[in-house]
């Protein structure tokens, strides 16, 4: 190119670049499409469409839940505020039309008209293959299956084309509920086997990119980190045909923009917004904001009991009296949480979890306990939190820091990046920290088994060990399986009392899951996994 030509073309380019402003125009065909389409905006999207995959993230669970069926699912009941809430104790068939529970096994008869998205019928061998897959692939799915004592492929027996039996390894009350969580989904075995390889016998690479199920929706387009588009499966037999034809799920990283999209009426549903936004939207009344407590979930302050000063129960009790509970409820959560503190002195312990403890902010008592423990002048320590949830964790830790300073306890705040948080929890070296635990299966002994038992799982973040605690937890599990209500009740009350007397972790509140949606959206249901179920939703 010659110098002169270049200069000429450069000026030409500049002149042509003045862009006219263009208003957006929506044609009428698109307006129709809008009324049958649900537009969801959230911060993060799935990284894998198959919950059996390696490291599938939580948004991926939502896809699995809506695009795959399970043998059975839960009935709905009316929850807090009249919002439909899954019924922990009542089951219904999804792919199964008949469920027969015997002493040491359960038999499922499959619906004969159930078909996968590609038209092949759902048969017993698909069920067996899928459950074998769940207990064999390793990682999270296998772990979740084992929580219901489902660990061996031999437990899943094909009786005939449409009948499957699941044998119990031992009596476990959690086996049936565990078959209704997201993991034991039924996969199109022939289709996936065709796309499997020697290196990848379970076809995880294939199902990562596309859904191969029989569920109410199928993914038609997925651009990772940008959007997921799902279309209704017109032949779904797992329940009544959903009203929403199409779901567009867009990732909008900026919380402020998600709120703007909702308030302008462009987006239908959003979650993962700051509490302050939810509280303001609730107050303005333009949108429906649903706030429901996490089932079996608690945000707590944990203390490492293996090292001084927190190996001393008096110090732990002192901290429990020194936390600014009410301030946290008001200034951090804007009231969107259930308090877990300050139960009346004479209130009897219930056979329930979560429940309030009897500690309350009482600085004099805290000071006295600390002096008794030999720390009259306080001590120095570090409080750690997960930066992924900094919106809640950071102000919470600052309030705790302020409050503890009144006892002479100098706390340094340690912010742990999200990627590093699990590693840090696993090391079990942080002296003082805040975290959330919430179990899919809503049973007290399940929570305690993971969080307080001496087998020291990742979630026993305090490294708490007590022979009495183990005895009570194991006792409750055995009693639950055997249906021995009296022993169960005593054991549950026993371990709750012990957990609150020894107080290795101090429950603060039961967090809320908040979802904001347009007024014309109905049919939101609360599920244990806290993600959206599009199948019951309707627009207009």
């Amino acid at each position: 190119m010659k110098r002169r030509d270049f200069l000429k073309s450069a000026t030409g380019l500049a002149a042509g670049a003045a862009l006219p402003a263009m208003p957006s125009v929506i044609s009428s065909a698109q307006a129709d499409a809008r009324s049958e389409t649900l537009l969801i905006v959230s911060e993060g999207g799935p990284n894998n469409l198959d919950i059996h995959g390696v490291g599938t993230n939580v948004p991926g669970y939502e896809v699995s839940w809506n695009c795959y069926d399970r043998l059975l699912s839960h009935e709905m009941k009316s929850g807090p505020g009249g919002v439909p809430y899954y019924d922990r104790d009542k089951f219904k068939g999804e792919l199964a039309e008949d469920i027969k529970i015997d002493d040491m096994s359960v038999t499922f008869k499959l619906k004969k008209n159930a078909k996968f998205h590609d038209g092949t019928p759902v048969t017993a061998k698909d069920v067996k293959w899928s459950l074998d897959r769940a207990v064999s692939v390793g990682g999270f799915p296998t772990f979740q299956m084992s929580a219901g004592s489902l660990t061996k492929p031999e437990q899943f027996v094909v009786i005939d084309d449409y009948t499957v039996r699941v044998d119990f390894l031992k009596k476990d009350k959690l086996t049936i509920p565990d078959l209704a969580v997201i993991v034991p989904c039924i996969v199109n075995s022939e289709l996936v086997k065709k796309n499997a390889s020697e290196k990848d016998p379970w076809g995880l690479e294939f199902t990562k990119q596309q859904t191969a199920g029989s569920g109410a929706y199928k993914v038609t387009k997925w651009t990772a980190g940008t959007e997921v588009i799902m279309e209704r499966n017109e032949d779904w037999v797992g329940g009544p045909l959903p009203k929403i034809k199409r779901v567009i799920w867009r990732m909008v990283p900026q919380a402020g923009n998600r709120r703007a999209l909702l308030e302008r009426g462009d987006a239908d549903i959003s979650y993962e917004l700051p509490f302050k936004d939810f509280q303001e939207m609730k107050a303005s009344g333009k949108l429906n904001v649903v706030s429901l407590p996490f089932s079996n979930g608690i945000q707590y302050i944990g203390m490492n009991v293996t090292k001084p000063p927190f190996d001393n129960v008096k110090v732990r009790q002192a901290i429990a009296y020194a936390l600014p509970y009410q301030k946290i409820m008001d200034a951090v959560l804007f009231g969107l949480g259930n308090p877990m503190f300050g139960a009346a002195k004479d209130k009897a312990t219930e056979v329930a979890w979560p429940q309030q403890h009897r500690y309350n902010t009482d600085m004099d008592k805290a000071k006295a306990l600390l002096t008794e423990a030999g720390y009259a002048n306080g001590f120095e320590t570090t409080i750690s939190f997960d930066l992924n949830f900094a919106g809640v964790n950071e102000p919470l830790c600052v309030l705790v820091q302020e409050s503890l300073a009144q006892l002479g306890i100098k706390t340094t705040i340690n912010k742990v990046p999200g990627a590093n948080w699990r590693t840090e929890l696993n090391k079990k070296e942080m002296p003082l920290f805040t975290n959330v635990f919430s179990g899919w299966l809503d049973y007290p002994e399940y929570f305690f088994y993971w969080c307080y038992h001496g087998n020291n799982s990742v979630f026993n973040t305090m490294s708490y060990k007590s022979a009495e605690m183990d005895r009570l937890i194991d006792g409750a599990r055995v009693a639950a399986a055997a249906g021995d209500a009296a022993t169960y009740d005593t054991d549950v009350k026993g371990f709750v009392d012990l957990a609150y007397a020894d107080i290795p972790r101090i429950p603060l509140y039961q967090p809320f899951v908040n979802v904001a949606m347009q007024k014309n959206i109905s049919g939101y249901q609360y599920w244990f996994h806290r993600r959206l179920d599009y199948r019951a939703m309707a627009k207009g």
Binding site: A18, L19, M22, A224, L261, R422
Partner: protein, 337 residues
């Protein structure tokens, strides 16, 4: 010319090798354990170990490195764990989105900044000069995400003139068949004018945000360089010879003032690629910047390495283009490799 390009590219190879080694080591030195992260919230120690094995992270570092370079040589950038996709495909899909936005931002900025700079230089101390100073100072001192959020708040939320900040197209349009990856061009090729309009209106706010940010260096550099040229002897001669002011400024002065401006443009372009990260976040733009940041947050090695490598290659190419442009603009500049 061709030998010069060839030589320049040869010189780029050692720096690219350096980039490969440094990014590999840096990503490994990041705190955080990808295995623990991807094992999920409910993982036992054994589950974490299983994942680690599956990801090949239990191998010695040197073996991981050779496997990585071997894959690279075969054009395989690895798989992202957060999005679950091959990195090469993701970068190929996302790079045009970032490039379209950045280029448009740059063009808008050049169209405003260069005339502004020239006018300011020809009338120093006048109201144009002050306007130039105020806009550039304001533009450079506002952080991009802030400008972006303000624009969204005013033009989308309050006035409703702008479409929802939901990425490159309105959700109800489908993307045009990919030819160049630039939606403005692809929609025209597909003769889908409604989609073109949607793509253009989605671009206005983010491109303006980038333009506001990059106005300052271009306008300031044009002004300074024009001032220097205007006070030089050949301009005085041209004026004395009775040439019209327009000819003096555009034909003689401006052309000579362009070299430093081109250098600044290349620097601004690199800035903008960086600033893009924030703008992409604000406008939910599916570009490579937001991709790289998300990968970094979750210690996802492969995309970070792929991103840095792509950027390094782009810088090499950009520098080459600028050097060639020098030669085209100024015949005195002859670069010999």
């Amino acid at each position: 010319m061709l030998t010069m390009i060839g030589k320049r590219l040869m010189f780029a190879i050692p720096s690219l090798i350096g980039v490969v080694i440094v990014t590999f080591l840096l990503t490994r030195a990041l705190p955080g354990d990808p295995a623990a992260y991807f094992a999920g919230p409910a993982a036992t120690k054994e589950a974490v170990e299983q994942i680690r094995k599956k990801l090949g992270l239990d191998r010695p570092l040197i073996e991981q490195f050779f496997r990585y370079t071997n894959d690279l040589a075969h054009g395989d950038f690895g798989n992202s764990l957060t999005t679950g996709q091959p990195v090469a495909a993701e970068i190929r899909n996302r790079l045009p989105a970032s490039a379209e936005l950045t280029l448009l931002g740059l063009i808008v900025s050049v169209v405003i900044a260069i005339p502004l700079g020239v006018l300011a230089a020809t009338r120093p101390g006048s109201w144009v000069d002050h306007l130039c100073r105020v806009t550039t100072t304001a533009g450079v001192s506002l952080p991009v995400f802030f400008t972006g959020l303000v624009l969204v708040y005013v033009f989308y939320f309050q006035l409703g003139w702008s479409p929802a900040p939901l990425g490159r197209l309105d959700v109800f349009y489908s993307a045009p068949p990919t030819v160049t990856g630039f939606y403005l061009i692809d929609t025209l090729i597909a003769r889908d004018f409604e989609a073109f309009r949607s793509a253009a209106s989605q671009l206005i706010l983010p491109a303006t945000t980038l333009a506001i940010f990059s106005l300052a260096p271009i306008a300031r550099m044009t002004r300074a360089s024009m001032l220097a040229v205007l006070s030089s002897e050949f301009v005085r001669t041209a004026r004395a010879s009775g040439l019209s002011p327009a000819t003096v400024i555009v034909t003689y002065a401006f052309r000579n003032a362009m070299l430093p401006v081109i250098t600044t443009l290349s620097m601004v372009f690199s800035f903008l690629l960086g600033a893009n990260v924030l703008v992409e976040k604000v406008f939910a733009w599916p570009g490579i910047g937001s991709y790289a940041v998300e990968a970094l947050i979750s210690s996802d090695f492969a995309p970070v390495q792929g991103f840095v490598l792509t950027m390094a290659v782009m810088y090499v190419l950009l520098n080459l283009v600028i050097d060639i442009l020098y030669g085209v603009i100024d015949p005195r500049v002859r670069l010999e490799g």
